[in-house]
């Protein structure tokens, strides 16, 4: 077979698979890990959205009488996961906490993603911008992410939800920038770019409507994985006391901090938020991993 014939036969194979995204979806559907992850996250989202209807109690309603006998009564019929150190229903707090964790995760990643995409696309496409942007990213990467997040929150003077989201978002910027830049560089010398340029399409448009859509799939994978890390980082910052100023906020990391002193008498108060964090993070990790495999061109056809 000549080279032309081989290429022709490959071309014939392509339409059968029906495009990158549909392909990926099909592969995802067949991956048990992805299904498990999807179920976990779907549950979490539903719980977060419908928290007021699902939660049996208010997350901030205290019952000092109930814990006057010592901290803290464990699971019972009225309180399925027990009461915390102020007599609040632990289950209700966990349910409302899902809102904060998802919110922090999504907003933080959105911040990192937006900035990262912009910077990465510029660095990848405009050669002159490459070096300055990438050196800046190198500097940011030189500082351990979590340390930098702590520093950024400290810079604001006080902790808080918004501060935590911004800090984690900023930490994520270099990750997305590098990825996007690499991906763009791989695309920018392709024939279709050359074709677009030769018919006089402006650079901005080439970048925006031709290169970026083709270069974005690894970034999507990274974003899913970054969601998991963001939730962990948020919990970590909350645990270090840099979370919301109001200690009554049912944020999972803050819940861990507030109850760590009762480890000896009521370990469940630390274990339950811990499990919630594990579920959220695991869910996003499973989806992210499956997505990566599904979108990897090297693995195409190996379903």
């Amino acid at each position: 077979m000549s080279v032309a014939e081989v290429e022709a036969s490959e071309l014939e194979l392509e339409p059968a698979s029906g495009g990158l995204w549909r392909d990926a979806l099909q592969r995802l559907r067949r991956s048990p890990a992805a299904i498990v992850g999807l179920v976990m996250i779907a549950t979490l989202v539903v719980v977060a959205l419908f928290a007021p209807w699902i939660a049996p109690y208010s997350p901030t309603e205290q019952n000092l009488e109930a814990i006057a006998g010592g901290c803290c009564p464990g699971p019972s019929r009225e309180h399925l996961l027990g009461l915390d150190d102020l007599g609040r229903d632990e289950l209700s707090r966990l349910i409302y906490g899902a809102r904060y964790s998802l919110l922090i995760g999504v907003v933080a990643v959105a911040i990192g993603l937006t900035m990262g995409l912009l910077l990465g696309a510029m660095a990848g496409y405009f050669r002159r911008a490459d070096s300055p942007i990438m050196r800046l990213m190198d500097i940011m990467l030189a500082i351990p992410g979590f340390l930098m997040a702590i520093g950024i929150v400290a810079l604001f003077g006080e902790g808080g939800l918004l501060q935590v989201m911004i800090a984690i978002g900023v930490v994520n910027i270099p990750i997305f920038t590098r990825l996007m830049r690499g991906s763009i560089i791989a695309q920018r010398d392709n024939d279709y770019v050359l074709a677009a340029r030769s018919v006089g399409v402006p650079s901005r448009k080439i970048l925006g409507s031709h290169i970026v859509p083709n270069a974005i799939s690894p970034v999507i994978v990274a974003a899913t994985l970054a969601l998991a890390t963001a939730i962990i980082d948020a919990a970590g910052l909350g645990f270090l006391g840099l979370g919301p100023q109001d200690p009554a906020t049912p944020e999972w990391g803050t819940m861990l901090t507030n109850t760590v002193r009762y480890l000896q008498t009521a370990p469940f108060l630390a274990i339950f938020p811990g499990i919630a964090i594990v579920i959220a993070v695991m869910g996003f990790n499973l989806i992210g991993d499956a997505l990566r495999e599904a979108l990897d061109p090297k693995l195409r056809g190996r379903t």
């Binding site: 205290q62 979590f146 902790g159 890390t229 006391g241 200690p247 760590v260 370990p267 991993d289």
Partner: protein
């Protein structure tokens, strides 16, 4: 994914610590018999006694420096220390102190009358960052002012001069008589420090932030620096985040310490301190949480020591913040705080509800003060009466990274109070700051919101040390000017007839609880925990215990 997993493991590890600790508790103690490791609740802010007012700093300084007089161990009885005897003349205005002979500072310089005067003159001549009620808190509250009036502070200095007569007599002249002067000299803040060392290491350099937080500028009393007194221990090293080490002063004038070395490790987390004690990493710690006492008592290797209740936890109401200058609003706060609930639930039977700013053991405690029982409806009604629309927004501050004898878990007290205030027509805006270095300075400077959580442990057994310290002068923390109250407390301060004095303080307590500059809520009996083989630690009502009497047995 990798990173996610790693951090994830860390979270799981936290949840499993409980189990790990129980296992680790069986491992043997690592200390040698002449070194004691003590678990402190936070790092000291400075080791220069003149510029601190927090217990963790004073605890260490108290081992290094001594005052002219001290307290008998475990009591508030005044005993000779660096002065062997003293005499007051000219109606209590002139005090002449006979000094102990043959005492040297830890840097080898002699302790004499000139050194005493140098210390007194240093305090009196404080200016700039030092002349502030948040930096030299004790000096300002006891001595009422400096040579040059400090910005924004009242100034009526008690001190006039100090004269050295020969080497061993220091004559201190006051501007007016003062009944609590001698008792106040037992304060760690008035410990004698080596003038040579203070000059050499720039003890008089420092800056004050606009929020009232003092930062030393020299090498005196700071991490990695020096602090020189005459005490039974001397400073060896201090590294933030690691440890603070003091070693036995072998040329001490009195009975030398049993221990060769005491190490202070700052472990802010209560649970972590308990775990460190159980594993033998530390041999003792202060501020045992009420809920942990049962656990410690059950352990055959550990013991609990009790301190007499000598403190008060209270909520500051800063009248410089509107509308809290209105008495009705302050009353609403008092009715809106569920004090009984907090004390009953969080203090495990070791606390009583406080109705005034001093514990019942102190002379001048009044039985007839106005009491404010939790009543959300009444609070709302008072707020409406004050012409306010509900809910009334209020910035409420609480400290993080700390536990105090009167406030084992500030965040928990805060949340309970915030909830009860929210039910009483307020809308609480939560604010927090780490105890050291920000929170205490902010509270004292009046930059910690309208309400904040704080408290006080008495330094010596005098009513002036409680309500006098708080309300004798105009202070940033409270933001009010009440000449009637100031006059009464200043009169009580110089009254030498004990019965009359007690009556004046009773009157003052009644006046204070009508005026409501703040809301006291708890007196507690703090607890300490030690390994069983540590003996000689004598709990003191003022929370300052010498380590020189401590030793190991068995």
């Amino acid at each position: 994914m990798r990173k996610g997993l790693k951090v994830l493991l860390a979270v799981v590890a936290v949840a499993l610590t409980a189990t790990a600790v129980t296992l680790a508790a069986n491992s043997s103690s690592s200390a040698t018999s002449d070194t004691l490791v003590f678990g402190a609740a936070s790092e000291p802010t400075s080791l220069d006694g003149a510029v601190v007012s927090d217990g963790e700093s004073l605890r260490v300084i108290d081992q290094i420096t001594e005052g002219l007089v001290g307290l008998k161990n475990g009591t508030t009885v005044i005993v000779p220390k660096l002065a062997t005897s003293w005499r007051a003349s000219n109606g209590g205005r002139v005090w002449s102190f006979k000094l102990r002979r043959g005492v040297t500072f830890q840097d080898g310089t002699p302790f004499n009358a000139k050194a005493v005067c140098a210390n007194f003159d240093r305090w009196y001549n404080f200016t700039g960052a030092f002349a502030s009620d948040s930096t030299s808190y004790y000096y300002y509250t006891v001595f009422g002012g400096y040579k040059k009036a400090a910005k924004g502070l009242g100034n009526s200095p008690l001190y006039r001069s100090c004269r050295a007569v020969g080497d061993s007599t220091a004559v201190i002249t006051l501007r007016r008589p003062n009944a609590s002067f001698l008792g106040a000299l037992s304060l760690t803040a008035f410990g004698m420090q080596s003038p040579t060392a203070m000059t050499k290491y720039g003890a008089d350099k420092g800056t004050l932030s606009k929020d009232g937080v003092f930062t030393p500028g020299g090498q005196y009393g700071v991490p990695g620096g020096v602090a020189v007194g005459t005490g039974p221990f001397k400073l060896e090293s201090w590294k933030i985040g690691d440890k603070l080490v003091i070693v036995r002063n072998d040329s001490y004038w009195g009975k030398k310490a049993f221990l060769r070395r005491v190490i202070f490790r700052a472990i802010p987390d209560n649970a972590a301190r308990l775990q460190a004690l159980q594993t033998g990493e530390i041999q003792g710690y202060d501020l045992v949480e009420p809920q942990d006492i049962a656990t410690i008592k059950k352990d055959s290797k550990l013991k609990v020591l009790d301190r007499p209740a000598f403190n008060v936890a209270y909520v500051t109401i800063n009248q410089a913040v509107k509308p809290f200058d209105n008495l009705l609003v302050r009353q609403a706060v008092a009715y809106g705080l569920d004090r009984a609930g907090v004390v009953k639930t969080f203090y495990a039977g070791r606390g009583t509800v406080a109705n005034e700013f001093m514990p019942p053991e102190v002379v001048g405690y009044s039985k007839t003060v106005k009491k404010y029982t939790y009543n959300p409806e009444k609070a709302k009604q008072l707020l409406r009466q004050a012409g306010l629309t509900l809910p009334v927004e209020v910035e409420f501050w609480y400290p993080t990274d700390v536990s105090r004898p009167y406030m084992p878990d500030p965040a928990r007290n805060f949340q309970a109070f915030a909830a009860s205030l929210d039910k009483s027509g307020f809308k609480v805006i939560p604010k927090s700051a780490p105890w050291a270095p920000d929170y205490v300075g902010r509270v004292q400077a009046g930059t910690a919101g309208a309400l904040n959580l704080i408290g006080w442990t008495g330094d010596f057994g005098d009513p002036d040390n409680f309500i006098g310290t708080f309300f004798r002068t105009k202070q940033g923390q409270w933001g009010f000017n009440n000449p009637q109250l100031f006059t009464l407390l200043n009169k009580a301060l110089i009254e030498t007839n004990l019965a009359k004095r007690a009556a004046m303080y009773r009157q003052a307590n009644n006046m204070i609880m009508n005026f409501l500059p703040g809301v006291p809520y708890a007196h507690t009996k703090p607890a300490l925990a030690f390994q069983k083989n540590v003996v000689g630690y004598i709990p003191s009502p003022v929370s300052l215990e010498p380590f020189s009497t401590v030793r190991f047995v068995g």
